[in-house]
Every structure is written in structure tokens, then in C-alpha cells.
């Protein structure tokens, strides 16, 4: 099935499951993006010469859903009862632990988000803020809840920044092409969601936040720096309290159990887990060495 059909069908199944389970979900990115944020191309009719403008559908490979954090457990139980199978837990996904991946026969896979990287407000309150202005759109014939247009702009920008793609077409459509009022609405929402630093990274204003604890993280991410160690340190520094910093520090270097199990094809034993730890720590050590080398080179150039 083409993704143009598989993605909205996956989104619609998730919405129906959520509706039946009394779960609040917001569809984000992909097929759920408002037409105002889609690229356009002109098409010339070869016979009549008439020129028309067509929307270019987003090329997404999965259905992305942000679920109210307090409803996650109920949603996962409902999904499991309706042919969906978890592939990766939150903890086995990105360093932000923000999304869990699920699959279902016949449609594309789904990423279920409980938070969105770049948003600093507590997850439940952040969802409330996005939910407050939501509306519905038609996906595969079913009404699906989506954030406000300002919310969609913000999410697209934060997503592009996290991927280190500051020249992303999404940023162009969501910010560069936006009017002053539209930008103001995004700024206001970012302030409510404590997402100003990540937004600033995507909109050329990151240096206004040099003193913020999240600055190094978004500086590194937006610069496309893929050094695990640098990102590890930036993620740890971005945490608001020592306990979260410690938890993040350990989690980011810990081998991911489910990923390991999928690679091995069976549940890892103690020795295999120990080897995975060794591998992770080895990677960290070699990257530390590389970072130290880069710092020394910078110091030599400065002299």
C-alpha cells in the first residue's frame, strides 16, 4: 500500500482506538500537517496550457501521535487489544525517550509520543496547552485531532532543529514564510511551553539564550553535531535538577534492552548485556578522546 494511504489509515485507526478508550491524542507531523504548511507546485496542462497550483503531500513514513501523558498506559493497553504491537519502548527510542514505536499488519507503523523534544514544560501541562486550541481534520474519512496552526508550526520547527536541519523546508514554510502575526503566535506558544530555546535555534535567535541551561544542547543539535558524548553532556546539563541529570546521564549510555534483543533475536543474557555496556562505554571513551583532540586543536589555533 502506498504511504499516502497507509499513513492516514494508521492515523485513523489510532484515533478510533483513542476515542473508544477515552484517550486524548493529537496527530502531529506527516499527514496531519495543515495545508497552509505544505509546499506547492505549479502544474501546466499540456493541452490547454492552464496553470494550476497543487499541494505537495508530505513524504512521511509513519503516523505520529502525541498522547496525553496521563493516558499513555490506557492507550497502550487499547492499542495492544486492537492488533498493534510495540516494537520499541520510550526508553529504547531516542535519547529524549519521547516516542514509542508500534506496528500493525496492513498499515504503516506509528510513533506514539508522550513529549516532544524542545518543549520544557511538564509533559501533562504541555499537552494541556496544545490540546486547548486543537481542532479536527479528516484523515482517511475520520475526524482526527490536531494542534492549532501555531502549534503545528512550532512542532515542525522543533523537529527540524533536533535533526540538525536548519535549512529544512519545514522551517521555511513554518517560519520564514510566516507573517509577523503568525510568528508572534508561535513565539507566544513557545513561551507557554518553555520551548523558546529550541525555537530560537531554528529561527536564528539562539544566541539570545546563551545563559540558558538548554543552550548547549540546542546549539549542538542545531549544528548537526552528532558526537554522542557532546550530546550526552548537553542533555545532562539541560536537566532542571540533579536527580534528572543523574538519571539522564545513566540512561543515555545504558544499552537499550529491546534494541539489543531485536539485534540478537533473543533475550540478552548477563554476559551479552555486560558486553553491550562495554561497547557503549568504549564508544564514549573514543569520542571523549576525539573531543579532547578537537579542543586541543582549537587551543593551538587560538595561540
Amino acid at each position: 500500500m502506498p504511504l499516502l494511504a497507509g499513513v492516514p489509515l494508521a492515523a485513523a485507526t489510532l484515533q478510533v482506538i483513542a476515542d473508544d478508550a477515552g484517550v486524548d491524542v493529537l496527530h502531529i507531523k506527516g499527514a496531519a500537517v495543515d495545508d497552509a504548511l505544505l509546499a506547492r507546485r505549479t502544474v501546466t496542462d499540456p493541452e490547454t496550457g492552464a496553470v494550476t497550483t497543487r499541494l505537495v503531500p508530505r513524504s512521511s513514513v509513519d503516523a505520529d501521535v502525541l498522547v496525553r501523558p496521563s493516558h499513555v498506559k490506557r492507550f497502550f493497553a487499547a492499542m495492544s487489544a486492537h492488533r498493534w504491537t510495540m516494537v520499541y519502548r520510550f526508553e529504547d527510542g531516542s535519547a529524549f525517550e519521547h516516542a514509542s514505536t508500534w506496528i500493525r499488519p496492513g498499515v504503516c507503523h506509528a510513533d506514539i509520543h508522550r513529549t516532544f523534544p524542545g518543549i520544557g514544560l511538564a509533559a501533562e501541562q504541555a499537552f494541556d496547552a496544545l490540546w486547548a486550541d486543537h481542532h479536527t481534520i479528516d484523515l482517511a474519512g475520520h475526524p482526527c485531532a490536531v494542534p492549532s496552526l501555531a502549534g503545528q508550526r512550532l512542532i515542525l520547527i522543533l523537529h527540524a532543529v533536533r535533526g540538525g536541519d536548519l535549512t529544512s523546508r519545514d522551517i521555511e514554510l513554518a517560519w520564514t514564510d510566516a507573517s509577523a502575526d503568525e510568528r508572534a503566535a508561535v513565539d507566544a506558544l513557545a513561551a507557554r511551553l518553555h520551548a523558546q530555546v529550541a525555537l530560537a535555534a531554528g529561527t536564528g535567535r539562539l544566541e539570545d539564550h546563551r545563559d540558558h541551561r538548554a543552550y548547549p544542547l540546542w546549539k549542538a543539535l542545531s549544528g548537526g553535531d552528532t558526537s554522542r558524548t557532546l550530546l550526552w553532556w548537553a542533555r545532562v546539563r539541560a536537566q532542571p535538577d540533579p536527580w534528572l541529570a543523574l538519571r539522564t546521564a545513566v540512561h543515555l549510555v545504558a544499552p537499550k534492552r529491546d534494541r539489543l534483543q531485536r539485534e540478537l533475536g533473543h533475550k540478552p543474557d548477563a554476559l551479552q548485556i555486560a558486553k553491550a555496556w562495554g561497547h557503549q562505554l568504549g564508544l564514549a571513551a573514543s569520542e571523549l578522546g576525539r573531543l579532547a583532540g578537537r579542543a586541543a586543536a582549537r587551543a593551538r589555533r587560538a595561540r
Binding site: 494511504a5 489509515l9 478510533v16 473508544d20 486492537h82 474519512g141 475520520h142
Partner: protein
């Protein structure tokens, strides 16, 4: 007779593009398996789903053929779509 889309039938219609004919992807939500209709089959479903009261005539018009040449087959196909619950009769 007019038809309509059953409650909770997910549906995505992809218009024809280059070598690909019109296609309709249908799936009972939330637990069903997807069904793909292509070409004339998709056209019949789309015309019926839009509530056209004379589906064979509308399809014949779109295809540029005499309605008598397709009426029986179209009605038979509409029957199979009803049986599969991919369409339902409108009251």
C-alpha cells in the same frame, strides 16, 4: 438506489497519476484489514460513496461507454461491495 460509506470505514482515494489508475484503499476501523481497489473498481466505489443515485450511468459517463455495456457488471460489483461492508445502502 443510493449508497454511502459505512460508519468507521477508513478510506483513502488516490487520484490517477502517470501510469497509476485511480485507487481506493478501504479499511474497517479499528481492526479490519485494508482492501485495495484499482481502476474501474475504485471508480465504482467512489461514485457510489458520493451518493450518486444511478451508479452505472455515472460510471458509464466517466468511462465514455454505453451504460448497457456495464450496467449488469456494475450492479453485481456493488452487491459484492455491500456484502463486504465496504458500502451500505443509504436510507
Amino acid at each position: 438506489m443510493t449508497y454511502r460509506i459505512p460508519h468507521r470505514l477508513g478510506h483513502v482515494v488516490l487520484p490517477p497519476e502517470r501510469d497509476r489508475p485511480v485507487a481506493a484503499y478501504l479499511m474497517p476501523l479499528p481492526d479490519g484489514d485494508p482492501v485495495a481497489l484499482h481502476g474501474t473498481a475504485a471508480l465504482i466505489w467512489v461514485v457510489a460513496a458520493e451518493g450518486d443515485p444511478d451508479v452505472p450511468a455515472a460510471v458509464a459517463d466517466l468511462l465514455g461507454v454505453d451504460v448497457d455495456t456495464i450496467a449488469d457488471e456494475t450492479r453485481a460489483y456493488l452487491g459484492s461491495l455491500l456484502d463486504a461492508r465496504l458500502l451500505e445502502r443509504a436510507p
